[in-house]
Symmetry: C2
Subunit: 322 residues, 2 copies
Amino acid sequence: MKQILVTIPVNDRHKAYLENIGKDCIFTYRAAAAVTEEDVRAAQIIIGNVPAAMIKASPRLEWIQLNSAGADAYCRDGVLAEGTVLTNATGAYGLAISEYMIGVALMLQNKLYIYHKNQLDHYWHDEGDVTSIFGSTTLVVGLGDIGGEFARRMKALGSYTIGVRRTAGEKPAYLDKLYTTERLDELLPRADFVALSLPNTPQTNHIMNEERLRGMKPGAILINVGRGNAVDPDALLRVLESGHLGGCALDVTEPEPLPADHPLWDAPRLVITPHIAGKFHLQETFERIVRISGENLEKYLAGRKDEMRSVVDPATGYRKRS
Amino acid sequence: MKQILVTIPVNDRHKAYLENIGKDCIFTYRAAAAVTEEDVRAAQIIIGNVPAAMIKASPRLEWIQLNSAGADAYCRDGVLAEGTVLTNATGAYGLAISEYMIGVALMLQNKLYIYHKNQLDHYWHDEGDVTSIFGSTTLVVGLGDIGGEFARRMKALGSYTIGVRRTAGEKPAYLDKLYTTERLDELLPRADFVALSLPNTPQTNHIMNEERLRGMKPGAILINVGRGNAVDPDALLRVLESGHLGGCALDVTEPEPLPADHPLWDAPRLVITPHIAGKFHLQETFERIVRISGENLEKYLAGRKDEMRSVVDPATGYRKRS
C-alpha cells in the first residue's frame, strides 16, 4: 500500500485513471505551490515536480515521476537517495515544443517579428528578402523527444536533417544523417538551422560558445529550447551584433528570468520567449504527462521497473532509455 | 521573329536561358518601373507584369506571361484584345506563401506576436494556453498552387485538411476531403484554420462577410493571402473585437496599403503584413518564374499553345488548367 503524492493539476477524470491503476494506494493530491515537506516525507511515490530541496535524500521516497523533461535539479548530489528511481516526462513535450520551434524558425526567416513591430507602429513597409525551410539544412543537437519531433517536422517541410547525439545509435527515418557530438564543429558550418534541445549537464554548459557561434553558417538561425546555459549569452550578444547570424530564438535564457535591463532583450534578430514553449500550455501535453505517469505507475506497482519509460540516470542527467 | 519584352529582373544566366529558347527572337529587357508605352506597343510577347493601362488592347500583343499569381488587373474589359493569351505565375509562389502561412498560423497559435510585444517592453511574462496544428482541422478555400501547398504542409504537420474549390474535381492526396464552394457555410464551423487564397473576382469579393466570420468556430484562425477584398474589413474588426476568433493574419488588406490611421492596425489578435508573402523575396520564387516563362515560351514558339501552363481565362479570372 504505497503512499502517492500527486502534484500535477489533475481533474476528476485523471484521478479516476490513476486510482484505477493504483487500487491499493493512498493518493494525496496537492497543488505544486502548496506542497509541504511533510507531504514529501510521507510519500513513497511522487508524481509531479516538487522542490528538490524538500526531498533531501528522503529514504522513504522510492520513485519520482517528473512532469518536466529537464531533470537536472534532481540529479545534484544529495537530492535523491541511492536507488531512488527518477523518471522524466519525455514524450509529453515534443509536440508543443516542436511546433513552437517551427513557429520561431519561420518568424525569423520571414521577418515576421520585424513586421509585427512595424504593425505596432502602423507602418506598411516591405522588409525585403526571406529564406525558406524547403531546401535548407537543419542540425538538431540533442535527439530526445523534442529534437526528434522537430527534425521530423523539418524533414516533412523539405529540410535536410542532420542529428547529433551523445552516443551512437540507429538513425531514425526522420534524419538524413546521424553523428555523435564530437563531429559538432564540422557540422555547424553546414546548417541553416541549429536547434538545441539538450539537458543541463556539465558537458552542455555553454556548448554554444563564441567560437561555435561564429562557426555557424553566415545567415543561419539558432534555436534553443533546452536549458539556457547551453548558449553563452555574452558571446551570443556579440555574434548577433556582428550580423553573422540570420537570427536566434531563445525560449530559455541565462539567467532566467532575463532581468529587464539585460542587453539581450534589444539584440538584433533575436526572438525571446519566457520559457513557455513547454509547460502545460497545450492541453495535449498534460494529457500525455498523465498517461506516462499512469503507464509507469502500472509497471512500478507490478514490479516491472525495467519496463518503465524515461528513466533518468542521476549520474549523467541523460535518459537510460526512451 | 518575335519581339519579346522582359520586365522581370533577370540576371545573365536567366537571359542566356531565355535567349536559348527564343533563338530567333529579339529580346528587350526593361525594369518594370522603367517600361514605356512604346516598349509595350512594340512587343508581341511580354514576360513580366506591365501596367494594364499601357496595354490598352494592343493588337500586336499575342501573349503576356505575368510574374504574379493574381491576374485580375488584366482580366478587365479593354485591357487584352480578343485572343491574347494570358498566363500567370501559378506554381512560383506556393512555396514562399505556404511557409509564410504556416509561420503566421503558429505565431497566432503560440501567441508569439504577444511575446514579441513583451520582448520590446523587456517584459518576461507567461501568456498562458496555446493550441496546436497537430490534431486541428484546416479549411483551405481556393486550391491553386498556394492553397494546395499550404494544405500539403498542414497535413504533414498533423492537421485534417478540407479543401473547397469552385468546381468539382479529383481529390488530391494532401486533402482529407474536397467540396465545392456551395458547402462553405456548413464547413466553416468545423475548421480551426480557414485559409483564403482566392483570385479577385466578383464572386470572391467579401466572401468572408460578417455572417461567415461569425460562423467560424470560436477560437479559430483566419489567414488571407489572396486578395484583400475577400474579407470585409469592417466586419472583421467587429468580429475580432468581439473575441470570437482566436486570431487572424492578413498579408492582403482592403484598402492596400492600409492607411496609418486605419483601425485594423490595432485590432486584437490580428497580424498584418504588407503584401510581402510572395513577391520575389524568396530567390526560389524568382527562379520558378523564369522556368515557367521559359517553358511557356518554348511551347508558344513551337505552336503548342494548348500545352502552355497556367493559362488564365480573362472572362472568369480563373485558370483554364494548371
